[in-house]
Subunit: 201 residues, 2 copies
Amino acid sequence: MGRRSTHTPQQLRELILDAAQDIINVHGLAGLSAREIARRIGYSPGTIYNMFDNLDDVVLHVEARVLDALDKRLSDTLQGEGGADARVVRIAHAYLAFTQEKPRLWNLLFEHHMPAGSDLPAWYQQKLEGLMGHVERALAPHFPAGREADLQRASRVLWAGVHGITSLSTADKLSVVTTETAGRLIDDLVGTYLAGLPSPT
Amino acid sequence: MGRRSTHTPQQLRELILDAAQDIINVHGLAGLSAREIARRIGYSPGTIYNMFDNLDDVVLHVEARVLDALDKRLSDTLQGEGGADARVVRIAHAYLAFTQEKPRLWNLLFEHHMPAGSDLPAWYQQKLEGLMGHVERALAPHFPAGREADLQRASRVLWAGVHGITSLSTADKLSVVTTETAGRLIDDLVGTYLAGLPSPT
DNA sequence: ATGCCATGGGACGACGGTCGACGCACACAC
DNA sequence: GTGTGTGCGTCGACCGTCGTCCCATGGCAT
């Protein structure tokens, strides 16, 4: 089997990631297989292992795309007007909207674990910190200079809180939580938490 | 292959669940297979399908055990003394402690999805509501009679918030969150949220 | 024309789930 | 107590699928 050269390696990598992302978006991580990717792009399973270490590696790169999409989504919401609190609420709702539009892709970020012994790559952690940065910037007006530690903590608490609500909601494990009320729970969380923050003066 | 009669069907079911729980506790859901269970209990894979519909069914029953263990854990923490707020904090920390002691079993509750088309059984939802009930009872002093809807919402928000913190923390996806600081984030969440609640008068 | 090496077809072991055949343990007759 | 029949719990071979890896192949640079 000689070189085909109908696609450059770079094109091939993107073909594989496109196919993998589409499969996960429709059928979830469980529906992903090297063979299904190969079928869709008209190559054999072996080719995938030429371009990636293994399926986990493919999944990790799909996760990178999802993180980028989520980052773009949050960035876009920050363009609008409104006070500091309104921006926090907007970010939270943008996160919720993303999880509802692409539930399987978003779920991927949490249902996929690294094989034992290997940590998340550094670039992955950096993307996470970039996302957190949006929250920190929106929350900054609540904290005077010199309280960066408090700002960081509050950002993580709100981020994790919103994540918890959407997570349990999409898994249908909050009992009685419908799509509509997930938004209200987020409003409650953000509103009450911000109200409980020590005054910024 | 005749009847062995060394175990009653009930014993056999528990043998299977014991083995499955142990495998998941050590190797995670991905390490679970019908054959591995069979190897451990000295039966053939076919026997497992005699006692359970399929592997998902086995997993669901392991989840039931985990939910029961979590419920017992939370119940125990409510025996102690302390004001209303202290009890809320204690529940939250009990939840965190459980997730840290049995991270894979706890993760099981969220990484295992029902096969498409089938919902969670009613008894599962009831166990979830039982857990939520602990939070509601601890939070009740903050809400006057007649505000049950607000109480329910606040309970779900706090529950989901704590869940989000532990979830991102054990997945190592909060960046910079160590075991120690997960507890502090929970303290911050509960403290600030309770402070932001309208006064109960 | 030559030879290098990227390539992908196919082999391998293990998986979930099914099912027919087997043979033990018990009920019953005596 | 002994013998016998049989129901049903159990096994393990089977099917289609999986992730991964190897190496014969044959296009491309020289």
